[in-house]
Amino acid sequence: MPELNTSSLPDLIFSFLFFIMMVTSMREVELKVQFTVPQGSEIEKLEKKSLVSHIYIGSPTRELRGQYGPGTRIQLNDKYAEVDAIHEYVAQERESMPERDKPFMKISLKIDQKTQMGIVTDVKQALRKAYALNIVYSASYDRR
């Protein structure tokens, strides 16, 4: 039996690799809160990922629950934060953007369904004070 020619196998896999690298994005942070975003039918896709910064609100993940309790937490970057830290976070995120993109900065709020509005409003007020006015209530598509 003649041997199978595998000399093009690396090329095949390399092109597959490049495809994967194009369509995906690096996972930004390690999630320390767990959340289920609400479902909606009128939601839009976020076009440019480079313009978007995330704020996560939910209860601590199972491993961290013993340490921090089940109460709602806000996660900025890699750690839990209080509402006061949002101003600095927004300033940092804005600083890392190119000048022409700064006015289009968006904040994606990934908030658990069961969160109470009080904390959401505190975050929104903090965002207003930090002059980050474009926000997105992150959601999943409702297939009904």
Partner: protein, 192 residues
């Protein structure tokens, strides 16, 4: 200076496939493909000098949607189901029958399109309690967006004879001028 040309031995590339496989698997693990989706909103600007100034808006121009701590929706004082909210909002925004308790229609100039008669001064005031669930708040926002989108779609169909999704960018802007999204949010209160 020997004339005999030395032959370079071929590089053994049999492991390239393995190396690229490892790279591939690494990228598959560390990246995510999920696209972020959501409802876009613009917050009002923060003005620290703003006085608590009561802006007088006529009662007929305001639709108050209150979501209380028990997650009940009160639309203009009536308890309603979430499924009714969209139609109520549509009737309020468009006021098709010129009712006296719904927003007044006025002539309004859409840049590049012309003058239309529409309810420019309507306001949907969305109020929540500090212990309202985020889920129901989001659903209300979603229904209100749906009301606006359906009205814009109907208007596009009547004016340009195709749906909102098939409209050009200009036509979408006109539709937004016809039915501008006016959702005002008061800070949540703690009702006892």
């Amino acid at each position: 200076m020997g004339k005999s040309s030395r032959k370079v031995p071929g590089l053994n590339s049999s492991s390239t496939a393995d190396i690229s496989f490892i790279l591939l698997i690494f990228f598959l693990i560390t990246t995510s493909m999920d696209t972020d989706m959501g409802l876009t909103r613009r917050l009002p600007e923060w003005d620290p000098n703003a006085q608590e100034e009561e802006v007088k808006i006529k009662e007929r121009n305001v639709m108050t949607v209150l979501v209380n701590a028990n997650n009940e929706i009160l639309c203009r004082g009536e308890v309603i189901n979430i499924s009714e909210l969209k139609d109520r909002a549509k009737e309020f925004i468009a006021n098709p029958e010129d009712k006296a308790n719904l927003p007044a229609k006025e002539e309004y100039d859409i840049k590049g399109f012309g003058t239309v008669v529409t309810t420019v001064k309507h306001v949907i005031s969305l109020q929540t309690d500090r212990s309202t669930d985020y889920d129901i708040y989001f659903k209300v926002q979603n229904e209100l967006s749906k009301a606006y989108n359906e009205l814009r779609d109907e208007w596009c169909w009547a004016t340009f004879h195709h749906h909102l999704i098939d409209c050009t960018e200009d036509q979408v802007t006109y539709a937004k001028g016809m039915y501008p999204s006016k959702i005002s949010e008061a800070e949540p209160k703690q009702y006892n």
